[in-house]
């Protein structure tokens, strides 16, 4: 009888190559997304480990000098952003800890305490400095300006993001020492949306960024929901302005910037702004958040050997290719770090388990999570990276946020 035929050297090389390709295509992304289901389902152990790490960062004294981007404005934005995103994460954990029982109540109380520490830091003069320097007027002082005065305008980044975090806190703690400040911020924002000629509010003098407006609209909606009131007319006006002026008709993506006078888009829409906008709008308008998320998924989302990534610019924009700025973070082969990270939150808010898992796999690969003593920190993330991932990984479902209370 014959023995089995002996494969020749090229056949063995082919076998090894096939095994390599099979390993490349099936193992790495599965290894990296193994925690994704736990985050998607909000499993306590996994989420609390990240929360503990973010609590450690935000418990330390961070200063603008900790974020030396080369621009004092961006350093300040990052300081403010770290506390704001951490506050969102803690607030979202508190919101999700709604089951009866002492464990859930204790978790909620701990999250609220951590959130309040972040809110205090977010409202501190150091965290307001970037906005004050740009406007030559403090954002919190501006809300006290008489309605219709020349100084009753703008500040939408600081007030919008702060108002959103304060609104989430109020949803969890209906009455607190933050209420008066929260009411003042939201009243000023609503007034400015209503008074704006194009329905959008400036971030800095003559600079309008729709994603910052999306955060402010989330703040208006959360305030109304927390106080069981009808939303202010400014919410409808702002949402309509985003829909008609800032969202590209062909791609459905959110423009990163629009002209301050005409509100004409200055770009064809970008991944970082659209994904973050979809996350913020989950608090204000479920349909618009879903529509924006679908656009991100359709136009920008890709998978590479199972890893989910998001392009910063639509493929149709030749002149945009490879462009990076402070919003996009590093752009590698067209894929944006910020766009990919923010899309994690947008996918969770819009109930897309598969995209969430593949995007998380990418965050896991490049974030290099490190677990120790019941904490998880992303080794390449630092305070801002950990805080953003914490907020995105715990983003609540839009359907549960915008339903009538």
């Amino acid at each position: 009888m014959n023995g089995p035929p002996v494969p020749a050297r090229p056949a063995r090389a082919l076998l090894a190559l096939l095994a390599f390709v099979m390993g490349l295509g099936t193992v790495p992304h599965r290894v990296c997304e193994r925690d994704a289901a736990a985050y998607y389902d909000g499993e306590t152990k996994q989420v609390d480990a990240l929360a503990a790490s973010v609590s450690r960062w935000t418990g330390e004294e961070l200063a603008p000098s900790a974020f030396a981007t080369g621009s004092s404005r961006f350093d300040g934005e990052w300081l403010f952003g770290t506390y704001m995103m951490a506050a969102m994460g803690f607030g979202q954990v508190a919101l999700a800890s709604n089951e009866p029982g002492s464990a859930s109540e204790s978790r909620r109380a701990e999250s609220v305490a951590r959130m309040e520490r972040c809110l205090d830091a977010m409202l501190s003069p150091a965290a307001r400095a970037f906005d004050r320097d740009a406007w030559s007027l403090d954002a919190l002082a501006s809300v006290e300006e008489p309605a219709g005065s020349s100084r009753d305008r703008g500040h939408v980044a600081y007030l919008g993001y702060a108002g959103l975090a304060l609104g989430l806190h109020r949803l969890v703690v209906p009455s607190s020492r933050f209420d008066a400040r929260h009411d003042a911020i939201v009243t000023a924002l609503a007034r400015r949306f209503s008074a704006s000629p194009n329905g959008l509010v400036e971030t800095y003098p003559s600079e309008v960024y729709p994603v910052d407006n999306a955060a402010a609209l989330g703040a208006l909606a959360l305030h109304a929901r927390a106080k069981h009131r009808t939303p202010a007319p400014g919410l409808t006006r702002g949402l309509e302005a985003i829909r008609t002026r800032a969202i590209a008709l062909d791609t459905g993506l959110l423009a990163q910037a629009v002209d301050a006078d005409t509100a004409a888009p200055r770009d064809p829409g970008r991944g970082s702004g659209s994904a973050l906008g979809a996350y913020f709008l989950a608090y204000a308008d479920q349909a618009m958040s879903a529509s924006l998320y679908r656009a991100v998924h359709r136009e920008l989302f890709r998978t590479i050997i199972g890893f989910g990534v998001v392009l910063e610019h639509p493929a149709s924009c030749d002149k945009c290719a490879g462009r990076a700025d402070i919003d996009s973070g590093p752009v590698v082969f067209g894929f944006g770090v910020s766009a990919t990270g923010f899309a994690i939150g947008a996918s969770r808010a819009n109930d897309d388990r598969d995209a969430f898992a593949s995007l998380y796999a990418t965050a896991h690969l490049f974030g290099a999570p490190f677990d120790e003593a019941a904490t998880r920190t992303f080794a390449t993330g630092g305070p801002l990276g950990d805080a953003i991932l914490f907020a995105m990984l715990t983003a609540p479902r839009a359907a549960t946020l915008t339903r009538p209370s």
């Binding site: 002996v6 090229p10 090894a16 490349l24």
Partner: protein, 135 residues
């Protein structure tokens, strides 16, 4: 892939995996991301920069490439165990001897001798047997 090369690839992959664990721990404990961020537009501290670059390279190797390389080396080792050393190709010293060995050890020649069919050169013993009966 030869057996020796497959073993080297396998061992290297395991070493990369171990190095990766060490680097992640070092980077997390050293708050390297914070140090790099804090350096802004100035050149980052050399140690922190080297650690970060090493981590990215080793992590890509450990997480993305190592599983495929381990599978490839396992496949090569399995082929070696099942079929013996590869034949053909000529680049491998001793390959010709291995080829001759497998040819002479096949059962075809033996069976044709045992049957006494007189067939000599053919490798297919079964065919020779049938011919013998017919004649």
């Amino acid at each position: 892939m030869t057996r020796r090369r497959a073993l080297v690839v396998g061992v290297l992959s395991l070493l990369v995996l171990a190095l990766h664990v060490v680097l992640v721990r070092a980077m997390a404990h050293g708050h390297v991301a914070h140090v790099l961020l804090g350096s802004g537009n100035a050149a980052p501290p050399l140690g922190a920069a080297l650690l970060a670059v090493s981590l990215v390279v080793v992590r890509l190797g450990a997480v993305v490439l190592a599983p495929g390389l381990l599978l490839a080396s396992l496949a090569s080792l399995a082929a070696h165990a099942l079929f013996g050393p590869p034949r053909g190709g000529g680049a491998h010293r001793g390959g010709a001897a291995e080829d001759a060995g497998s040819g002479t050890s096949s059962g075809a020649g033996k069976s044709s001798d045992d049957e006494g069919s007189g067939g000599v050169a053919a490798a297919d013993g079964t065919g020779l047997n049938i011919e013998g009966r017919a004649t």
